[in-house]
């Protein structure tokens, strides 16, 4: 242990002297936190703007379009508003204006109430609501399609009610449709869950990118080991009464301390400067330590695999990108396809993100993320032990 500390401290002194420590622990984290803070300040999820055009101009179509734009005011709504702040509707004078807006990317998708919409509704015919999509905005197009389908169902439901009611009253059907239309509920995006639970995007991406950065940060350990091998200092170090594993531990400890400091800086800057909500500090701190230990274990394993500086770089890049993709660092585990969500459970960073998400969304206390912490520590220990053995065999034995 004493030898590992000597190695770690000397490495830190050298890195402070050549300023790489300042870049890893302060410069890059501050820049990264600044970028995410500025780009994602206050964002909790995606926002969409859907254009609406009424080509029918009947009482029913006017009512539907008006309700979308202003659920409270009905047809008297403003030109741009929405039922909730994640989907905003914007009215357009006619179909061509709407199509132009979709093509130009002014809106994420469009809903067109076609000519004859009101008459079909009154006659109880099958309703057509057109969704306009831009292939470049796949999600916006899906939202527009969902809105169009919802409008069709709502209005058809109203029509059915009217036809049933018309057998019970002497009022003409047209009058009943208009009366029912007044009570058409506003479109809303039903998430089927607790909409009060959301994650601060700068907190999520701050943690996510800090983990990716962590991979690159701890990659200094294998590179440093290979550099010492090439420079000849490794021979002299190994000629002293120190186990190869202790040397590895010292190398990894030095970079882990710097990387942990960098992670804390990202947390602090996004929180202090941009108000990001990472969750309870104790949970975040424990998760940072567990994540650093886990990924340091992976780094130790790479130390054992690499025979040259170039191999260390290549292996590190490959491991970083594969684990970052599988773990959901670029999209978030919840937004990944089901298979990827399952695969993310095989990665330490996937578990780390689960822990950080639980802390940010639910305010999880440390004991509530024990599962993630345990997995992180086990992964770190397993890879670290493998690295310990491999370094003895491959690096030392030439």
């Amino acid at each position: 242990m004493a030898a590992s500390l000597v190695v770690a401290v000397t490495d830190l002194v050298r890195r402070i002297r050549n300023r790489s420590a300042l870049i890893v622990a302060i410069g890059a984290p501050v820049a990264m936190a600044g970028v995410f803070g500025l780009l994602l300040d206050g964002a909790t999820s995606a926002h969409f703007t859907v254009g609406v055009a009424d080509a029918d101009r009947s009482a029913v179509s006017r009512q539907v379009a008006g309700t979308l734009v202003d659920p409270a005011g009905g047809s008297g709504g403003t030109a741009e508003s929405g039922a909730d702040d994640r989907i905003r509707f914007r009215t357009f004078a006619d179909e061509s204006a709407l199509r132009r807006a979709v093509d130009d990317g002014d809106v994420d998708g469009g809903v067109l109430l076609p000519d004859g919409f009101g008459a079909d509704a009154a006659a109880g015919k099958r309703l057509t609501v057109v969704a306009l999509r831009d292939p470049r905005r796949a999600i916006g197009g899906e939202v527009a399609a969902a809105v169009a389908a919802s409008v069709g169902h709502e209005v058809a439901g109203v029509g059915l009610s009217v036809r049933v009611a018309s057998g019970l009253t002497d009022r003409p059907p047209g009058e009943l449709v208009d009366a029912a239309g007044d009570r058409t509920p506003a479109f809303r995006l039903d998430e089927g869950g607790d909409t009060s639970r959301s994650i601060d995007a700068s907190a999520f991406f701050g943690a996510s990118m800090a983990i990716v950065f962590l991979f690159f940060g701890v990659a200094y350990a294998p590179r440093s080991l290979m550099k010492e091998k090439e420079d000849g200092t490794l021979a002299r170090v190994l000629a002293s009464p120190i186990a190869p594993g202790s040397l590895l531990a010292g190398k990894v400890l030095g970079v882990a301390l710097l990387s942990a400091a960098g992670f804390v800086v990202v947390w602090w800057v996004t929180t202090a400067a941009f108000g990001a909500a990472w969750g309870p500090p104790a949970t975040v701190l424990i998760l940072i330590v567990a994540t650093v230990l886990s990924i340091s274990g992976v780094s130790a394993f790479v130390c054992g695999l690499a025979r040259t500086n170039e191999q260390a770089d290549t292996y590190t890049s490959a491991v970083t990108f594969v684990l970052a993709l599988l773990g959901g660092n670029f999209v978030g585990p919840a937004n990944a396809p089901p298979l990827l969500q399952r695969l993310s459970l095989l990665t330490p960073n996937g578990w780390a993100l689960r822990g950080f998400t639980a802390a940010a969304v639910d305010g999880a206390a440390p004991h509530e993320v024990l599962g993630a912490i345990a997995v992180l520590l086990v992964v770190g220990a397993a890879f670290g032990a493998a690295g310990w053995v491999l370094v003895g065999r491959r690096v030392v034995q030439g």
Binding site: A3, T10, V13, R14, R236, L238, A239, S240, P241
Partner: protein
């Protein structure tokens, strides 16, 4: 008295290549032992095993009665390694480097301070101790490199070709330092492919080639292996093959070796003066003209040539 180093039957393979093949070594207390061989002969692999960096595939290494291993072996505290490369951190000062390697050897506190000052004094760099290594000249780096091997007062100092790439003045300083260390009773295992260094520093020399120790002994013992014969180096122009055949047939010519240089060959003879005139006389008949004749007395170079059939610098 117990030897400081005893190696028996050392074997080390890298894949299908056997780099060291059954080497036995014994270095006594206070002895400077030279391991002489060309590049790739197995010198560095041998000393890497002796220093506990490489695990031998077979054989044993004992340092002053303690078995050596690649782990945190107590035997490692008895060995100081001076690698061929400048094994120092260029962004640290000489003093910081020495403190680092001293700590790895278990030195602490005042003892470490005293050793750092002592070895800096020994290599004459006390006044530059706070300067970074990358500000030093090549010779100064070499001296700190040796100081780092001495920081923990080892019983055996291993020097792996410490004068490679060093200017003549620094080289002489280094050799004088090593002579002083040997004179002070330190055991030294010195590898080199410079015959003159081995002759100057070492009481006994082991000649290693293709991983095998092909001969061992004092200079006198080794020279006796090839006989007390002179060597005549012949430089000529024209048909050297024909001249070499003619010279080989001259009375007194015992052996002839063609080296890599096409304009020279070497003749072993019991009496050089008698042969010189005969070589000059034979040249015109062989279609060649002699441009130079050099007589060399028996030395380790000749021994190496005799034992391996190749020159040390090949």
């Amino acid at each position: 008295m117990e030897p400081v180093l005893t190696c028996e039957g050392l074997i080390r393979r890298f894949g299908s290549r056997t780099a060291v093949d059954g080497v036995d070594l014994r270095v006594e207390k206070g002895e400077t032992y030279g391991l002489l061989g060309p590049n790739g002969a197995g010198k560095t692999t041998t000393i890497s095993m002796v220093a506990g960096i490489l695990e031998p595939d077979a054989g044993s290494i004992v340092i002053a009665g303690r078995p050596m291993s690649t782990g945190p072996s107590p035997a490692k505290r008895l060995v100081g390694l001076v690698p061929q490369d400048i094994a120092l951190y260029p962004d640290l000062s000489a003093e910081e480097n020495l403190r680092f390697f001293g700590r790895l050897q278990g030195l602490r506190g005042r003892h470490l301070d005293a050793r750092v000052h002592a070895v800096l004094e020994l290599v004459g760099l006390s006044d530059r101790s706070r300067d970074r290594i990358d500000a030093y000249s090549g010779g100064m780096k070499r001296r700190v490199n040796i100081a780092a091997g001495l920081i923990h007062e080892p019983a055996l100092l291993i020097l792996d070709e410490p004068t490679v790439g060093v200017d003549p003045q620094s080289r002489n300083q280094i050799l004088e330092s090593i002579e002083a260390l040997g004179g002070a009773g330190l055991s030294v295992l010195y590898t080199t492919h410079y015959m003159e260094e081995a002759e100057r520093l070492c009481r006994r020399v082991g000649i290693i080639d293709d991983g095998r120790l092909v001969a061992e002994g004092t200079r006198r013992e080794l020279v006796a292996m090839v006989g007390e014969h002179d060597r005549v180096v012949v430089s000529a122009e024209g048909d050297l093959d024909s001249l070499a055949r003619a010279v080989k047939g001259l009375p007194g010519a015992l052996d002839l070796v063609r080296g890599p240089d096409p304009e020279h060959f070497e003749v072993t003879t019991a009496s050089a003066p008698g042969l010189l005139a005969a070589i000059v006389a034979a040249a015109p008949g062989a279609g060649a003209s002699v441009t130079g004749l050099e007589v060399r007395e028996p030395d380790l170079e000749a021994v190496f040539l005799h034992l391996t059939g190749k020159a040390l610098r090949d």
